[in-house]
Amino acid sequence: MMSQEFIDEIFENEVLPYALDLRQETVRAGLDGVNFDEKTLLSLAQWHDLLFAGSILTQSESPKHLEIALRIATGAVIAQDDGLVRDAGAVLLDKLGNSRAQHLAEKRELIAPNLEARLGSRMLIDAVRRDVENSVLIQHSGERLPANNFQQELWSKASDQSVWVSASAPTAAGKTYIVGTFLHDQVLSKGFQYILYLAPTRALVGEVQRDLNERFKNEPSVSTSSMPLPSAYLEARRRSGAVIYVLTQERIHLLVNALGKEAKFNLLIVDEAQKISDRRRGVILQEAVDRVIEIQPSIQVIFISPSTANPAVLLNDKPTSTRGDTVDSSTPMVLQNIITVQQSRGKKFDVGLLVNSEIHPLGGIDLKSSPSSLKKRTAFVAAEIGTSGGTLVYVNGAAEAEDVAQLIRDYIQPSEDKNPHPDLIALSDLIRRGVHPKYSLAELVLAGVGFHYGNMPALVRSETERLFSEGKLRFLVCTSTLIEGVNLSCRNIVVRDPRKGKNTPMTPHDFWNLAGRAGRWGTEFQGNIICIDPFKGGAWQDGIPERTLYTIQPERDRSLAQRDRFTDYVKGMNHISEAENTDDESKTFAPVAASLLSKFLVGGSLSSTVLKNRYPPDYLEALDQKFEELSIEVTLPSSIMERHPGLNPLGLQRLLIAFQEYKRDPSNLIILRIGDDRVYSRLSTVFNRITDAMGSAFGSEKQATLYAVIVLKWLQGMTLPRIIEDRIKNNRERGGKTPIPTIIRETLDLVQNIARFNAPRYLSAYEDILSFHLNNIGKTELIDDDLDIGTALEFGVSSRTLLSLMSIGVSRMTAVEVFEKIADDELDERGVVNWIRSRSEELEGLGFPMLMIEELRRVALIKENTSKEE
């Protein structure tokens, strides 16, 4: 083993003097559209020296050393013509545990085939040894899978089922891939049966479920589900099979509500676990984890997060008898370059390389047209630099994403292929049928340009991501949804004045989480982060942020850490409605205080909860005392509070009081179901009643009526194009002037945020409390035990058949189209699979878009395998 001192010396003397030239060499080999300044940077002899130094740096554990060793190896392969230098670079990649990059070099014919045959016997033995060392053993098959250091460590630590693991690594380190493989192996080799995969966003849920479906498609005894329905779990228990639920934190609560104490899972994986720091949803995530553990304390938990400074913090609440361990890697697997672009005059732009806050000139680009607006500047630079594809453009909102995508298409149009790829035509068709014929994305994708934001329907978004990953869409303009956990990487990312949402400045960590997408491990050697107008004060208020690690601070801990202020907030919380929580501190404290009050009401004391391990007894006792005083007013059973995390128990209690004080016929309090003529008016009133009791959940009376319309159409299983078309028509009839793209975006937003998020949470609580009240007053005949309204709304279904379609994995968009052709509205899962199978050959004739047909056949095939097993 070499001494660290020697390695440091090599780094200082043999590498650092050439580091800038090395960077410039590698950047030039991977950046399109730039007229580079002519100069020779590194001689052949210098490359030899660097390769020697690089082989020594591979022995270091310092991320800084390993990163530059990777740059030497990559540079040798991509920027040098000499065959020997390229071979040496490839060997160095292998020594770094980066066999994917080595394979990429072979695939691109940068190194000649059969590298091993050119190695001497000693090198060959080393290479074989490294093959074994840099891999993990797949237990169920006995095969070895190539893996980098991070992946090996995670695999090894997580294999001990009695240990909780918190793993953190940069975006392109292959976290999701290794976790999926690990899960597959655990289920097949060790018989893990009941697994929860917590993915904090719906977009990520879809992505993970698709990946797992693919992995388990030939395993009839294993089912996956993204629906919080107990049937999959109970079925797995009945058949001694396995089930993997992929759920958001909210859906985990729904599942646990339905399963109760039966919810005994073996393994919980929390992806994007840093979201435990998020305001409001952070507490819901933490409570989901708490609840699952309380029911099954022996469960193994694995947390995954990107480049965090303190992954160990996630292990704080593990049971005292359980061991915890971290896997913490900050070593990148692909190179990342920060490229600056600034206008010199007119259509001419200077291009530079940012290193240690200093810009080093690289060359320039000449735009075809003058960028007369900021949107044009972003679009034209992206179009010029990103022509070879894999170019992601970050903008600050959905409307801007549409505009910039249009501009890119216009800029590249003359050179565009007139015959789009059939997959793009299929996507365009799906968009016209599934969103709206006038949705601009339908036309854009035909030109190889797409946009991507949070409220788009899942199937459209996932197809857009897939075609971008496959290079069929060359440009993708996106918003902050991408930081919210979608695993989408790219070759270039173009960014100017980045914000999170419209007005929130992007934190350095968010910026680097985004920038981390640049560089597809195994597909590209490097990624470019292209920063337009890079100077401080203008587009970049504080300059381009230095690379930083994210410090996880769970939302609950952040509030509890401010002992005096938090205690004061709790003291006054019975006088505060949600609407009054306007300042930053109240907004942070409110959900935490509500969550702790629920915990108190359930357990009778905070001192008996997981908090007891980390907070002083006198603090918890003081809070207990405040909660005791507050709880005098609360007559609702604690089980109701527990079922509705994130909602203020005092607000729920006020709702109960409103019911108790209601003087008319109590049947007027019931949420009516589709088909009743009073349903729309009743729902508006219910929204107002909730707002009166709980704060500003549904806004003004006028907003409540708008929300009621959308919620009902969604619940009715209406297609998105019809909901949008109705709004366009309504706008026209009222003489409104709102442009169609705005109406489309607004409708997508209303569906996602009201119909699928706010309404299910509040209406589900409303029905629970109402049932409790009706029981108390002896009106049990008014209680409807139909499908939980929360579940029905989140999935936008009101019939058994639609729900069955979605629970076998069909997207809502496809499900509602198919439902139009199914007569029976009471089909169970087996019934819908049989229907699809019996119509399999007729689906084209029934007029469904191709992507919907493919989805139906894919899902039916997986389910067919499952039923054969039975």
Binding site: D665, N668, L672, R678, Y680, S681, R682, T685, E733, R734
Partner: protein, 103 residues
Amino acid sequence: MPRGTPVEIGGKVFQKKGEARDFIDSIRTSYDPGDSVSAEDTSFLLKAINSHPDYDTKFPSPVTSFFVGLAEIYNTKCLFAQMENGTSVQFSGKSLVPVKKRK
């Protein structure tokens, strides 16, 4: 001596037409949108709708109950009659009070 002619609607005598209009309007306003009308008010309205000038076309099927709902366009509270054929129809309370025909 109050001005105006007494009028009988729904089995109830009002001293003035204005009083009748106010009474019917008070039914409309006293409920929340989506509420079913009470038995007492239903009994009154069942008789009162007979005074509707277009009774046969407005209510093609026997009326079974009433509710207060939101009007389709302006979202104001309105009275609705639920009919035996499963449909419902919005009607104006004012239309139940006969107007004097102009000469």
